[in-house]
Every structure is written in structure tokens, then in C-alpha cells.
């Protein structure tokens, strides 16, 4: 393997496009993010540590990352199922269901938050029936989970769909002729092909959920130590003109998100590398 900067090619454009991409990414991503680190560095190490390890902050990390992760897992399972139904079966109203999947993308998050709160509050359509069972959704961590699951659904469906579409039906038929039952076929033949796409979708749903603000603050109730997410805590600090404290929390979120998406990428790489090894 050579470590040349670029493969020689007669088709021009490498220098121009790479140069522009780097410039663009710096402008849009890198400079704002480094600004955050610079602002944070106005704090001493001790101040920084105190800010980011307050019990209220810790509780908010747990809720934000925990609910995002569980939401991503739920979407991984049910999003794949929705994708399967949309790709494999033709039924009346299919294109309607297909369009429905994109709704969490298109809806302003505040609208989603208000709608979810209305449905799940103790006198809402669903909340009314869940309350007697001892399940409270609105204004609890469970509500946060519902909101984060809602906004993450399209990511998994939209990444799994094209892969399922391209999946070779003959491999499934081969499995049946070899005597595999449906469950064995799904587990041993179909799922291994889908894992990379499912992981990608889950990573995106997770990343989206970690940064989510609008839909959560309505349904969460925002009780400190209980149902307060980190983005809200950052907002609170901003409103108190504690800019350095806000960016400190931002830095923590950034680092944790980066590490987690790296882990998910590793998982995805591990699940897809086996057939590409040479």
C-alpha cells in the first residue's frame, strides 16, 4: 500500500475539491468548535472541573446520554422493522406510511414536543390510559426517552431501506432450500448484511438525540437532578450570563459524543469488515 497523497488519475479535480472541502469544513465546523474550547479555557482547571462535575450536571449527562442511547436502540429495532415492511411488502397506503417516516425530520421540534406532551400528559389521549397503570410519561425521564425516540426514527429507516432494497433475494432462497427456517434465515443471512446500515442509522439517531432541545423541554418537565437534559442546563447557564460555564458543559458533551460515535463507527467497521478483508 502506498502512502501517496492521491492516486494518480487523468480525471482532474482532486486539488480543487479537497481544498474547498477543508476550507468549508473549517468555516462551518472547526472554527466555531474551537471558539468553544477557547472560551472554556478562560476557566481554570479547578473551575472547569467543578462546573462539569456538579451533581446537577452529572444527572443531566446521565439522562441525555442514557435516554439517547436507549432511544437509538429502540429505533434500531423498530426502525429496521419499519424499513423491512416498507421494502418487502406492497400494501395499500404504503407510500403514505413511507412519507410518515419523514415527519419527525420535517416537523419543527417544538411542535413535536407540544404534540407529545399533549398526548402523554395525565389528561391526554394516551396519558389518560397509562396513568392508572402507574406509568407517567410526561414530565418524567420516560417522556425524554419518548421524545428522543420520536426524532431519531427516520435515521434508521432511511439508512436501512436502500440496503434492504439492494439485498439479494437469492441468498434467502438458498437458505430456504438448505433447510433453514425463517428465523434462521433472518439471523444468519439477512441480519449480517444489515448490521452496518443499522449501526450507521443508530449512530445518527443517537447523535441527533444528544443534541435535541426543542422537543424535549416541553415534555421533560425540566426538574433539576431528575428530568433535566444537558442542553437545557447549558441554556440556563447562558441565561445567567455564565458563558464559560455553558461552554464547559458543551465541551463535555462534545467529547463524550465524539468518543461514542467513534465507538459506534468501530462497531460498524467490525460488522462489515469481515467480507471485505483481502
Amino acid at each position: 500500500m502506498s502512502f501517496a497523497l492521491k492516486q494518480p488519475s487523468v480525471l482532474p479535480g482532486f486539488g480543487l475539491t479537497l481544498g474547498f472541502s477543508l476550507f468549508y469544513l473549517s468555516l462551518i465546523v472547526l472554527i466555531p468548535l474551537s471558539g468553544m474550547f477557547i472560551k472554556t479555557s478562560t476557566l481554570t482547571w479547578a473551575q472547569f472541573w467543578e462546573t462539569v462535575t456538579q451533581p446537577r450536571a452529572i444527572a443531566s449527562y446521565q439522562l441525555t446520554f442514557g435516554a439517547s442511547l436507549i432511544g437509538a436502540l429502540i429505533n434500531g429495532l423498530f426502525g429496521s422493522l419499519v424499513a423491512w415492511v416498507l421494502v418487502r411488502y406492497r400494501f395499500p397506503g404504503r407510500s403514505f406510511v413511507d412519507a410518515l417516516v419523514d415527519l419527525p425530520f420535517a416537523l419543527p421540534t417544538a411542535v413535536a414536543g407540544i404534540a407529545l406532551t399533549a398526548i402523554y400528559s395525565s389528561n391526554g389521549w394516551l396519558g389518560r390510559h397509562l396513568e392508572p397503570l402507574g406509568i407517567k410519561v410526561a414530565f418524567t425521564p420516560l417522556g425524554v426517552l419518548v421524545a428522543l425516540t420520536f426524532i431519531g426514527l427516520p435515521f434508521v429507516v432511511r439508512t436501512v431501506q436502500p440496503v434492504l432494497q439492494a439485498l439479494d433475494k437469492e441468498a434467502e432462497e438458498a437458505a430456504i432450500t438448505l433447510g433453514a427456517n425463517r428465523w434462521q434465515t433472518v439471523r444468519a443471512v439477512i441480519l449480517p448484511e444489515l448490521w452496518p446500515a443499522i449501526f450507521t442509522g443508530m449512530a445518527m439517531a443517537f447523535a441527533r438525540a444528544v443534541g435535541e432541545y426543542g422537543s424535549v423541554i416541553f415534555i421533560a418537565g425540566n426538574m433539576p437532578l431528575k428530568s433535566e437534559i444537558t442542553p437545557l442546563l447549558i441554556m440556563t447557564k447562558l441565561e445567567q450570563y455564565d458563558y464559560a460555564g455553558a461552554t464547559a458543559l458543551g465541551v463535555v458533551m462534545l467529547v463524550v459524543s465524539f468518543v461514542l460515535s467513534l465507538l459506534i463507527n468501530l462497531l460498524q467497521w467490525w460488522s462489515s469488515d469481515r467480507r471485505e478483508t483481502h
Binding site: A171, L178, A180, Q184, A188, R274
Partner: protein
């Protein structure tokens, strides 16, 4: 396993893929289903496997009707044109798949599976590839893996759907000979679907020629090649010259032992068609018989083991293809533009239904 296909009809929407097809295959034979794409051969194979359901008719395997039985109860091995290997499994895992998915009570032990997989890989000459992934193999190797995988479950019937269709000519040739030897060793009743007439003629015990959802002819490779039952079969199995119009007197070699035939010139109102294979035409420099057809040499192709000459009939301006041995070609000393006289050694006449 003997197979009886009993009046099978299959439609996709308004299109009839198989129209009342019946076929008997005795146990242990290797049958080729031969026909152009869209003739229904693959559909018939898939119905036999249980991958498709017929609209009418019955499938009987070993005197037991299986038309409504699930694929898993039929004990068939199926080999797909595009291999359909499991990409994320090694070659050994692919071959072992059919054994590993058996219910626990019937499943052999891990060592038995391992031993069996290696026996099968030895059979298809791929022991060294056991730990590779399918993408690391050539097309021919992949298809051999697919075959070993199908054989692992000890099928009573082996169904091969254009197994060598995606391979290049040389590998195809090697593999079909190898498949024939394998069949002679294992004697599993096998059905080979192909659109390649050479493959069908070379590999099979009997050839079933299909066209537009119907069987045109069933016979040994010699029979279908030497005595085609229909104009379609004549066309499909090798090159052919077609002459429209009535032969003035003689119809066949039996009727005219001295081998002198007359070829008809184009007579459009006649409903007879004469077929002659290019190698059954003889050329001479001088007219020896009044019934010979006069033609001029248009092209001569000398590449290959035989010489192909393209002629233009003088009166009807029909193109005629002739195949000569190299010796005969040298004797004749043909040049472009030369006038020659054509007569057939053998021909076949079909009556075309008048429209």
C-alpha cells in the same frame, strides 16, 4: 429421485410462462432444460424446487405428490446462476450451513460437520479455500462452493439454474465437463437449466428443448441435434440455412440415396420450409446437376478449425452459410466473387401452418 411434471401451467399476470407442460425424468438422469430466455425453463425449475407455486398441475417426486409441500420437505439442492453465497461467511461456513440449521436432534456433531465439509470441499477441489470469503474467489470457484453447499444436505434432486451462465467461455467448458464427471460419480437426479445449446448437448443424458412455455422436443443430445422435431429446435441447436418453398421432388436422404437434392428457390406462396445445416451443404465449381443452386462467394472466414463461407444465391439473393473443412476449402480455391454450385447432403422439410 424420479420426477413427474404433470400438466403444469403457470401465469404471471396475463402472461403464461408455462403452458400445460408435462415431463418425466427417471431417477439418476441428468436432464438439460434448454431454451432462449423467457421460455419458462427457470420457472419450471423453481416450481420443482418449491420456490414458486404452479397455477395448475402436479409435481410428483418419487411417486409422492409434492405440489403443495414446502420446499424443506422436498430434499432438493438448488444452485443459482449468481451463486447466492452468504457473503459474510467463509467457504467452509457456507458449505456447513445446511447442516448447522438442522434441528438439534438430526444435527451431526461439530466434528462430523467439519469432516463432511472437508470431504465436500475435496470433491469440488477447493480444500485450500476453506477459510476464504466468497469475494476472494473467482466465479468458477464460487459456483463450485455453491454446488458443495447444495450437496451438503444430501439432496435427492439437484436443480441447477444456469449455473455457468455468468462465467467466461473457457471456465464454462471446464465446469460442465467436471459437472458431468461429478454426476457420473454421484448419480443424483439433476436438472440443468441453460440457454447454451453446447452446454446442454455436452453435459446431459437428455435434452428438453423449451420455447414459449412449451416443450418442443425431448430426446438425447444426438436425437435433438440430428432429428429436430420442430423448426424452432432446428434453429436453436446450431446454425441453419432456411429455404422457403417446396422441394420439387425428393424430401429426405432416405428417399434419395445418391445424395443429390434440389434446393427450392424462394416461392412465397408455399407453406414448406427447408432447413439445412451449414456443414451439410456441398459446393462445387461446376454444375453437375440441374437442381444445384447457383451462388456467388461473398465472404470467406478462415479462422478456426473450419472455414465458413458466406454465399449469395444468384436468383433469390438469399444469403447462404456453408461450413467446409480446411482440406475441401483448399481444393476449391475459393475467392470472393467466385461462382459456385450448392447442393445439400442432408436436409429437413417442415410444413408451416398456413395463416
Amino acid at each position: 429421485m424420479s420426477i413427474r411434471v404433470d400438466h403444469i401451467t403457470k401465469r404471471f399476470g396475463t402472461f403464461t410462462v408455462l403452458n400445460d407442460v408435462s415431463l418425466d425424468v427417471p431417477s439418476g438422469e441428468l436432464i438439460a432444460l434448454l431454451g432462449p430466455s423467457g421460455c419458462g425453463k427457470t420457472t419450471l425449475l423453481r416450481i420443482l424446487a418449491g420456490l414458486e407455486q404452479p397455477d395448475q398441475g402436479r409435481i410428483v417426486l418419487n411417486d409422492v405428490e409434492v405440489t403443495d409441500r414446502h420446499i424443506s420437505e422436498r430434499h432438493v439442492g438448488f444452485v443459482f446462476q449468481h451463486y447466492a453465497l452468504f457473503r459474510h461467511m467463509t467457504v467452509a461456513d457456507n458449505v456447513a450451513f445446511g447442516l448447522k440449521v438442522l434441528p438439534r436432534a438430526q444435527r451431526p456433531s461439530a466434528e462430523r460437520i467439519h469432516k463432511k465439509v472437508h470431504e465436500l470441499l475435496a470433491l469440488v477441489q477447493l480444500q485450500a479455500m476453506a477459510n476464504r470469503y466468497p469475494t476472494q474467489l473467482s466465479g468458477g470457484q464460487r459456483q463450485r462452493v455453491a454446488l458443495a453447499r447444495a450437496l451438503a444436505v444430501e439432496p435427492k434432486l439437484l436443480l441447477l439454474d444456469e449455473p455457468f451462465g455468468a462465467l467466461d467461455a473457457k471456465v464454462r467448458k471446464e465446469l460442465r465437463r467436471w459437472l458431468r464427471r461429478l454426476h457420473d460419480e454421484l448419480h443424483i437426479t439433476s436438472i440443468l437449466v441453460t440457454h447454451d445449446q453446447e452446454e446442454a448437448l455436452e453435459a446431459s443424458d437428455r435434452v428438453v428443448v423449451m420455447h414459449q412455455g412449451q416443450i418442443e422436443q425431448i430426446g438425447t443430445p444426438d436425437e435433438v441435434y440430428e432429428q429436430p422435431a420442430t423448426p424452432f429446435v432446428y434453429h436453436f441447436l446450431g446454425d441453419v440455412n432456411v429455404f422457403h418453398g417446396r422441394i420439387p421432388h425428393d424430401r429426405s436422404a432416405q428417399e434419395h440415396p445418391n445424395g443429390e437434392f434440389a434446393l427450392p428457390e424462394d416461392l412465397e406462396d408455399e407453406h414448406e420450409v427447408t432447413f439445412v445445416r451449414p456443414h451439410d451443404l456441398e459446393l462445387s465449381r461446376h454444375r453437375t446437376n440441374t437442381s444445384q443452386l447457383e451462388a456467388s462467394v461473398r465472404y470467406v472466414l478462415t479462422a478456426g478449425s473450419r472455414v465458413r463461407v458466406e454465399l449469395l444465391a444468384v436468383h433469390s439473393s438469399q444469403t447462404i452459410e456453408v461450413e467446409l473443412t480446411k482440406e475441401r476449402y483448399r481444393e476449391l480455391e475459393l475467392r470472393q466473387g467466385d461462382v459456385v454450385f450448392v447442393h445439400p447432403r442432408q436436409l429437413q422439410v417442415f410444413r408451416v401452418p398456413s395463416s
